[in-house]
């Protein structure tokens, strides 16, 4: 009896023929599901994924920017340091050159001064010598004439003076001495 009923039922339902009521229900239900999930959920997930990618890439970019800035600053400091070193070296060189110049100046001046002093001494000596020679010449002449007057008579003095005898004699002496 039961088997008969079951068999009777089997003929009423064919499992590969869809029930149109179920097609309607399934279509509506799945459409609702698609609408809600595809409109309100998955696009927001894509947005979140994108935001996450942006956040990570933004972080990397910021780090890179900071790194670049740090590198630039380091470069700048290095350049400044090198510049300062060059400046210091230049200043040292200049100072050394200046000192050398000043030394040279002072040396030249000193040498000049000494030359001048020596020259002045020499000049003074020469002048003195000339004076002495002149005086001596006159004195020698006088003495000689006096001596000769004493020997040959007194009047000789005036005449000798008049005729320049003594001078000539002395010149002769000088020229022979010079020779």
């Amino acid at each position: 009896m039961i088997f008969l009923a079951a068999e009777g039922g089997e003929s009423t339902h064919n499992p590969i023929i869809p029930l149109w009521q179920e097609i309607v229900v399934g279509s509506v239900a799945f459409a609702v599901l698609c609408f809600v999930l595809m409109k309100f959920v998955f696009p927001r997930m894509e947005q979140t994924f994108q935001a996450r990618v942006d956040a990570i890439e933004g972080g990397i970019k910021r780090a890179e920017a900071a790194q670049a800035e740090a590198n630039q600053l380091l470069e700048q400091y290095r350049a400044q340091l090198a510049e300062a070193r060059t400046d210091a070296a230049k200043i040292r060189d200049d100072a050394r050159a200046d000192a050398e110049g000043i030394r040279q100046d002072i040396l030249a001046k000193a040498r000049e001064e000494s030359d001048r002093v020596i020259q002045a001494g020499k000049d003074a000596l020469a002048a003195e010598r000339a004076t002495i020679v002149r005086e001596l010449r006159a004195e020698v002449g006088t003495i000689a004439v006096d001596l000769a007057s004493k020997i040959v008579g007194e009047s000789l003095a005036d005449e000798a003076r008049r005729k320049g005898t003594v001078d000539r004699f002395l010149s002769g002496l000088e020229s022979t001495g010079a020779r």
Partner: protein, 265 residues
């Protein structure tokens, strides 16, 4: 005889199980056999839709860059379908299909899963109406995408004319026409339907078989127990089938879309 009949009438279906076991009396009106609007099957479909909507809306109500556990779980489902099915099969432009594929995957997975969830214990997909709807959507989707991308003539030329010597074409074109435009929706729908139908049938056979043997002869009790152990083992197998069929349905849909988008055959 009468006692057995009473047991069977009280809800234990006759052994062997029949197709009628898949068509339970309707809920509204209660117990009717020819009303299909509000049945356990349609109720489960609505429950699946409701559960999925509530789960995704709740876990994605307030998305954070650093996800909470719930948000991470929802994202992993979408990320799995998006990256491992849509992008893997279709490539970069597959991303735009990912929302539909994920909806499809979740819906099939959950409705399949009802087959082994206590008190549900039958999958709506064991009624061919639901796999048929999904297969028709996939069919319309891949043809629409192909025609939109290539234009009507070029799409059919791409789909129907394989790069083969001309003398083999008279053989190949009908095969292509048959396989691409006629068989695909049926194979999609029937694959899912038959798997869920057979799974439920198997579980019924072993469960009811155990009862049938027990009531036929008390000496068969050990065999009944073996039968129920087999039911448990088959439930694990059923779990595998549930997940696999949901995956296969989605992957095949993605593959059809990829084929429609492909430049050449």
């Amino acid at each position: 005889m009468f006692g057995q009949a009473n047991v069977l009438a009280a809800g234990q279906a006759a052994f062997p199980p029949t197709v009628e076991d898949f068509y339970l009396p309707s809920i509204l009106p209660w117990g009717a056999h020819d009303s299909y609007w509000v049945t356990k099957i349609t109720a489960m479909v609505w429950i699946a839709v409701g559960v999925l909507i509530i789960f995704f809306l709740a876990s994605y109500r307030n998305p954070q860059l650093v996800p909470t556990k719930k948000q991470w779980f929802a994202e992993s489902i979408y990320g799995f379908v998006r990256n491992n099915i849509a992008v893997d099969m279709i490539g970069h432009q597959g991303v735009r299909f990912a929302p539909y594929f994920t909806t499809l995957f979740c819906f099939v997975l959950l409705t399949n899963a009802f087959a082994i969830i206590p008190f549900f214990q039958i999958s709506p997909n064991s009624h061919i109406a639901f796999p048929a709807i999904l297969a028709i959507i996939s069919y319309v989707l891949f043809n629409y995408i192909g025609i939109k991308k290539h234009g009507f003539v070029k799409y059919f030329k791409n789909s129907l004319i394989p790069p083969a010597p001309w003398y083999i074409l008279p053989l190949l074109i009908p095969i292509e026409l048959f396989s691409t435009f006629i068989v695909r929706p049926f194979s999609l729908a029937v694959r899912l339907f038959a798997n869920m139908f057979a799974g439920h049938m198997l579980l019924l056979v072993f469960t009811l078989g155990g009862f049938a043997m027990l009531s036929a002869n008390a000496w068969l009790a050990p065999v009944s127990v073996l039968s129920w152990v087999m039911t448990i083992a088959l439930t694990f197998l059923e779990f595998l089938v549930i997940v696999l069929q949901a995956y296969v349905f989605t992957v095949l849909t993605a593959s059809y879309v990829q084929g429609a988008l492909a430049e050449e055959h």
